[in-house]
């Protein structure tokens, strides 16, 4: 089981957290650390790219919700990129589609931050 976390700054003052693999109770702390570090550095507009994520559970969702709460305190937001139908279904079931902006590609997610 693996999780890949890659953070990069995009051209338009947003930061992109690109995730790949499986996000569960074992791997979600690594995701949390990456998001927390960005927020601690003062970056409050984030795109989290889940295109390469094969699996996410409630602990992974909890990390995303925690990140969103923190950036909102500073007037920022978190947009997600997600195309996997199974993962989209989890966001639908939990009602998180109403809380996160969920986009089919990174360009759309970044544009919506502006």
């Amino acid at each position: 089981m693996d999780i890949k976390v890659h953070v990069r700054e995009s051209d338009d003052d947003a930061y992109v957290v690109e995730l790949g693999g499986e996000i569960d109770v074992y791997t979600s702390p690594k995701v949390k650390d990456a998001i927390t570090e960005l927020i601690d550095q003062g970056h409050y507009n984030l795109v989290i790219n889940l295109e390469k994520v094969r699996y996410i559970d409630s602990t992974g969702l909890g990390v995303l919700i925690g990140g969103l709460k923190r950036v909102r305190e500073h007037g920022g937001t978190v947009n997600l990129v997600c195309t996997n139908p199974q993962i989209k279904k989890i966001f639908d079931i939990t009602g998180l589609v109403k809380i996160f902006g969920i986009y089919d590609d990174e360009a759309g997610a970044k544009k919506a931050l502006a």
């Binding site: 109770v25 074992y26 409630s58």
Partner: protein
Amino acid sequence: MNVTEPSTDHLGTVELRIPSKPEWVAVARLAVAAIANRLPFSVEEIEDLKLAIAEACTICIQQGTGIQTIDITCTATLSALRVEVRDDRYRGRDGNVPKRPSMMAVEGEGLGIFLIQALMDNLEYNVDPHLGTELVMTKRVGA
């Protein structure tokens, strides 16, 4: 002694015991997926099962301070897969602790219980910091 004849559609029972540690949850998830593959579940239904079992194991780990292992019992029939997930405080107690029907889920028991309820066809559970954590869930084929 009570002897119960297995029903005619009973395919088999598989028991798995994993350490109560986050790094072992993926093993339970993959094992249950392999068992579910023996039944005519769709790919989507198997993904639902994987997530539900992982959530149940995660609840055991998060609720069970000091527990060492988690027991997972899968009973496959032609039409359904029943999965029982218990932390080691249940061992030897014969499962006599009353379980709550899924409709009685209350707020605050977390996203995990909510997801299991949404993904499975039936759930009964008992999450008690003293008695232990037990979840019994069923997924029917094509439901």
